[in-house]
């Protein structure tokens, strides 16, 4: 169990992973992950590259099934679900993918409108109003006619975020939302995520290795190491850890983020 896991247990869980194990291509990736994602908070999962952070995220939304263990979303165990029943659970979710995963053949506007049209069967002005609103919120007002190929990395992430937000989901999963962006762009995406999180109050799960930046924006931080959650704590507590390995990991680059200097 993790260092501060007793704290996590006190919170109302939105997603709960119990003993999740997963092998990929014969290699063990997740080796008994126990993790509780609290409702309405922004929880960030950190860990080294190739530790299986994205794999972990994909288990939460049923894109991957565990070899062993349970995945609970609310009061539904999803690891053995498929078809319509899995889709019912997925309606609570949205996901922002690493490359934003916008549909190449559709314009930005069409991309954001896509879930409204496909899932809610909305048409005409109802779609236009909600799409324009979301594009405005992520800072892409008037860019709806552009195609994904014409956008910069940061703009794609913004468009992806608009598409994730448009269905007003209860949970949003962020898979390395700032990978491949310059530091300024990364900061603006982080700021946007925090603003949207405060405004809409969804449960956010983020996978990232932007240390120390994520300590300033996350409510909770969990560290994945050797296929298990090595530690989960509030962002402030996490930085005060005495565990040498965690300390080493979060101080890579020479700058240990000091509590208070970034938080708030």
């Amino acid at each position: 169990m993790g260092l501060f896991s007793h704290l996590g247990l006190a919170l109302e869980p939105m997603i709960k992973l119990i003993g999740v194990e997963k092998k990929l291509g014969g290699q063990p990736v997740l080796q008994g992950v126990d993790l509780t994602i609290p409702v309405g908070k922004l929880t960030t999962i950190i860990g080294r590259s190739g530790e299986g952070k994205s794999v972990l995220l994909k288990h939460m939304i049923g894109l991957m099934q565990p070899d062993r263990g349970e995945v609970w979303v609310g009061d539904v165990e999803i690891s053995r679900l498929s078809g319509t029943r899995l889709n019912d659970v997925r309606k609570k979710f949205a996901m922002l993918f690493q490359g934003a995963a916008l549909f190449d053949s559709l314009s930005v506007y069409e991309n954001v409108a896509f879930p409204l049209r496909e899932k809610l069967r909305l048409t005409g002005p109802a779609v236009a109003r909600r799409v324009e609103e979301k594009l405005g919120e992520v800072g892409l007002a008037g860019m709806g006619h552009k195609f994904p190929a014409e956008l910069s990395g940061g703009m794609r992430k913004r468009a992806g975020l608009a598409r994730a937000l448009v269905m007003e989901p209860e949970i949003i999963l962020f898979d390395e939302p700032t990978t491949g962006l310059d530091p300024l762009m990364a900061k603006s995406i982080h700021d946007l995520i925090v603003t949207m999180h405060r405004r809409f109050g969804f449960t956010a799960v983020m996978v990232s290795h932007e240390i120390p930046e994520i300590f300033a924006i996350s409510d909770w931080v969990a560290m994945l190491r050797k296929g298990k959650i090595a530690s989960m704590a509030t962002a402030a507590e996490f930085q005060r850890t005495t565990d040498p390995e965690i300390h080493e990991f979060i101080s890579v680059g020479g700058t240990v983020a000091l509590p208070g200097s970034l938080v708030g």
Binding site: K58, M95, A101
Partner: protein, 253 residues
């Protein structure tokens, strides 16, 4: 050695099972609402309409060369008058379905594999899943239907253009009498020939879209994987078309 053979067999059998499940579940999703009429039309436009030019071109030259070859063979027996039936029967029974399907594989099939493969690599297929939209229903089923409808229509065009190409060379260039050319077609071509050609073209349409969608859908996560998937899709569907053609012909004859 035995172990390797066994492992190889298991992998192949599993792959075949996965392919069968893939196409069956896509068709199962097809009959469930929402119906993707617009998507089917879009795919039909891509597979059918956009392949027309290359199919017409191939058909014209195939018919012309058939007439040229046929003319010199038939002349030895003094039966140039049968040229029309020779061209038409080879077109309708064999060359139309096979060549049109091969052209569709090369033009539309490879593009389908690449398109679906890129969607897989860039997580667009996962994105559909997370939006609770089944990718088999949204992406694959319309392409399968478009293949089933589009290829037979292209084959029909191929046959007609090929026969006219034959008449261009046979009648206009080599001097076979026009009446003899068309009369021999009318008397030689049977409903059974047409029926066989339609059956072939429908099954080839399914083979092309099935194999090309499948290979794209299960592309490995890399640019190299995408290249390999496209190559495999084109090679496998071309080979399957020729093999399946032999079996169908042997049953139909």
């Amino acid at each position: 050695m035995i172990e390797q053979l066994g492992a190889w067999t298991i992998i192949r059998v599993r792959e075949m099972g996965r392919m069968l499940l893939f196409v069956l579940s896509a068709f199962a999703w097809l009959v469930q609402p929402p119906f993707r009429f617009h998507q089917i039309m879009k795919q039909l436009h891509f597979i059918g309409y956009k392949s027309t030019f290359v199919v017409v071109l191939t058909a014209g030259f195939t018919g012309m060369v058939l007439a040229l070859q046929g003319y010199y063979s038939l002349r030895k027996f003094g039966s140039e008058g049968l040229l029309g039936s020779a061209v038409a029967l080879s077109m309708i029974r064999e060359l139309g379905p096979v060549l049109a399907a091969l052209m569709v594989t090369a033009r539309a099939g490879s593009a389908m594999t690449a398109e679906i493969g890129i969607m897989r690599i860039t997580e667009q297929i996962d994105a559909l899943d997370t939006m609770a939209i089944n990718p088999l229903q949204y992406l694959i089923a319309p392409k399968l239907v478009a293949g089933l409808i589009g290829v037979p229509l292209l084959v029909a065009i191929f046959d007609v253009v090929g026969i006219y190409g034959g008449s261009l060379v046979g009648v206009d260039l080599l001097g076979v009498s026009e009446g003899a050319y068309w009369n021999s077609i009318q008397s030689a071509v049977d409903w059974k020939d047409i029926y066989g050609g339609i059956l072939k073209s429908i099954s080839f349409g399914l083979i092309v879209s099935w194999i090309c969608c499948y290979k794209g859908f299960y592309t490995r996560q890399s640019a190299e994987g995408l290249g390999r998937a496209t190559t495999e899709a084109v090679v496998l569907s071309s080979v399957l078309i020729l093999v399946w053609d032999y079996f169908l012909t042997s049953v139909l004859l």
